[in-house]
């Protein structure tokens, strides 16, 4: 009937274009840039005194002037963050498994974890320093203590959220607890785990700084404290800005890992736009 009756193969609907993907990757940093511009304008417009909130450009110039030293402190903090975070990730998994093993264990263990999490780490610092020595261990321990709890809670919630039908399937196969965990519960819990990791990685940044406040000669936490003590507000804010950037970068790294290795758990793209 129609002339083009035998039309060609239908084409695939195009995926997101390269430009769009690049924009999306750049988005977080554009947002941060926007914030800085706003900040600079606000400081100038409202004449906010620099000892209170210095302008970004001034922060930049004062921080850049001491770049070697700032770099050293940044590396020290990064190290603390990573050790503490890795420790938290490694320990919270078995803890979450333990907590989900039975309601009785959960009721007994959770309060102890809550204690550790809800008391101020600053108060624990003296005990930790004496117990672990005046080296990098106390601040790694503090980082760990600050960030492990959300991980345990999220992983445990994920392990328990598995629909009954999957568990029945496992049981029908006589799967051992461990295999059930590994093959079904953990994969199912991935969105929960990553929500925990996202919280934990940013908390690790906070934890490292708190650790450096109380037990360190170096690191951005120390730099913030000492610059504040010396009334070097721009330098202190320089350290804070670096911390924020570390936080965003690590957060984005977690997001990227989730996207790369667990695409089925990232529902963003499926439902939106």
């Amino acid at each position: 009937m129609r002339p083009d009756d035998d039309r060609g193969e239908p084409e695939l609907p195009p995926g997101p274009s390269a430009a769009k993907r690049a924009l999306r990757a750049a988005m977080p940093w554009l947002a941060v840039l926007g914030l800085f511009v706003l900040w600079e304008v606000a400081v100038r417009a409202f004449r906010i005194p620099d000892y209170l909130l210095p302008a970004p450009l001034e922060i930049w110039s004062q921080t850049y002037a001491l770049k070697a030293m700032v770099g050293m402190h940044t590396l020290a903090t990064l190290e603390t963050i990573l050790y503490g975070f890795v420790m938290a990730a490694a320990i919270s998994l078995p803890l979450a498994v333990l907590v989900t093993a039975s309601p009785a264990i959960a009721s007994a263990v959770y309060p102890l974890l809550v204690i550790v999490h809800s008391i101020p780490k600053v108060a624990l610092a003296p005990v930790l320093v004496v117990a672990l020595g005046a080296n990098e261990l106390p601040r790694i321990a503090i980082t760990f203590l600050v960030c492990f709890f959300p991980l345990v809670i999220s992983i445990a919630a994920g392990l328990l959220a598995v629909p009954a039908e999957y568990i029945e399937m496992c049981r029908a196969c006589r799967a051992s607890r461990l295999r059930e965990l590994w093959r079904v519960r953990l994969p199912y819990a991935v969105p929960f785990i990553f929500s925990g990791l996202k919280v934990a990685i940013t908390l690790a940044v906070v934890g490292a700084v708190v650790g450096e406040f109380v037990a360190s000669e170096k690191g951005l936490g120390y730099l913030i404290q000492s610059s504040t003590a010396f009334f070097k507000t721009p330098l202190a804010f320089g350290a804070i800005v670096i911390l924020a950037i570390i936080g965003i970068a690590l957060f984005q790294a977690v997001v990227a890992i989730e996207r790369a290795f667990f695409p089925w758990a990232v529902s963003d793209d499926r439902f939106r736009e």
Binding site: P49, V129, V130, A134, S226, F230, F231, K232
Partner: protein, 307 residues
């Protein structure tokens, strides 16, 4: 060669140049010592660390040493040498505010922090200075916010060690303001402040090590007094965040608490029983401690040579 650690009481602002130059000038090495200097978290924390053996020596306010020793059975540390023979406590006010003495604080907003010694000592000076401490309006706030709030006019006075005046004032000057200090020492607060502390165990087992350490420190105090510019440069090398100029400003003020009429009278590094008594009376009254204790039990006087 003995390796020891000196635990400071706070973050090393410029006045701490009196310690750091001993490293660079080799004063410790001369005494066969290899010293690491750690910043501190307040006198209490320093005492804990020294008592627990995490650090061999510490810098701590003698008031805290006295309190700690009575409140805790296990915090067995003593002061082995005075550093500040006068208290560095002061209130910062803005020039032109009309406040020049404690009487002028009545009805004014004065900043404080939890457990701040400035707030605790002030009532003790009331009688001598004829003011009513109850009329002072204390505002608890963040230590970091204090300077800003003062310059902003949210506080009329802020408690600071006088050593911080120089660099705070520099900021204020950029806004055409000027900070003035009302030093407690000038209004009748007669007491020791910073001291070098060591644990009882250490004092008992290794008095020689302490002697060597104190000797090196005395040398470095004197050197800093005589070479202030050079000491500030050394301090800046250890703490690049602090400009040489700021370090120098703080050091200059700090030295007035190390070297002054009291020091001249009692000689550098020596406690006098009479001033110890005054100090303890003060502490005991503010902390509700037993007044009948011999203040000599908090110190060891025979390890530092007088010079």
């Amino acid at each position: 060669q003995d390796r020891v650690t000196l635990q400071l009481d706070w973050i090393p602002t410029g006045e701490y140049a009196i310690y750091y130059n001993a490293i660079d000038n080799g004063f410790f090495r001369e005494q066969r010592l290899e010293v690491t200097i750690n910043r501190g978290q307040g006198s209490g924390d320093t005492i804990r660390r020294v008592a627990a053996g995490t650090a061999e020596f510490g810098v701590a306010d003698i008031a805290t040493v006295m309190t700690a020793r009575q409140r805790s059975n296990d915090s067995r540390v003593k002061a082995v040498m005075p550093v500040y023979t006068k208290p560095p406590h002061s209130l910062f006010v803005m020039k032109g505010s009309g406040i020049t003495n404690f009487k002028g604080l009545e009805g004014k907003r004065v900043g404080t922090t939890p457990g701040n010694s400035h707030q605790i000592y002030l009532p003790l000076l009331a009688a001598a200075n004829n003011f009513d401490p109850n009329k002072i309006n204390w505002v608890t706030t963040d230590p970091g916010a204090m300077g800003a709030m003062l310059i902003n006019g949210q506080l009329d006075a802020a408690p600071f060690f006088q050593t911080h005046q120089y660099f705070q004032n520099k900021q204020a000057q950029r806004f055409n303001r000027e900070i003035e200090a009302i030093p407690y020492a000038n209004f009748g607060l007669d007491a020791y402040a910073s001291t070098i502390i060591a644990s009882d165990t250490m004092i008992e087992r290794n008095p020689d090590l302490i002697k060597r350490f104190l000797a090196a420190l005395q040398k470095s105090f004197v050197w800093a007094r005589d070479n202030q510019q050079a000491a500030a440069v050394i301090h800046n090398k250890h703490h690049p965040q602090i400009d040489v100029d700021d370090a120098l400003g703080s050091l200059r003020t700090g030295l007035t608490f190390v070297f002054n009429d009291v020091t001249t009278r009692d000689r550098l590094g020596q406690f006098s029983a009479e001033r110890l008594r005054l100090t303890y009376d003060l502490v005991a009254r503010t902390q509700q401690l037993d007044l009948n204790i011999d203040p000599g039990s908090f110190v060891v006087t025979n390890l530092a040579s007088g010079s």
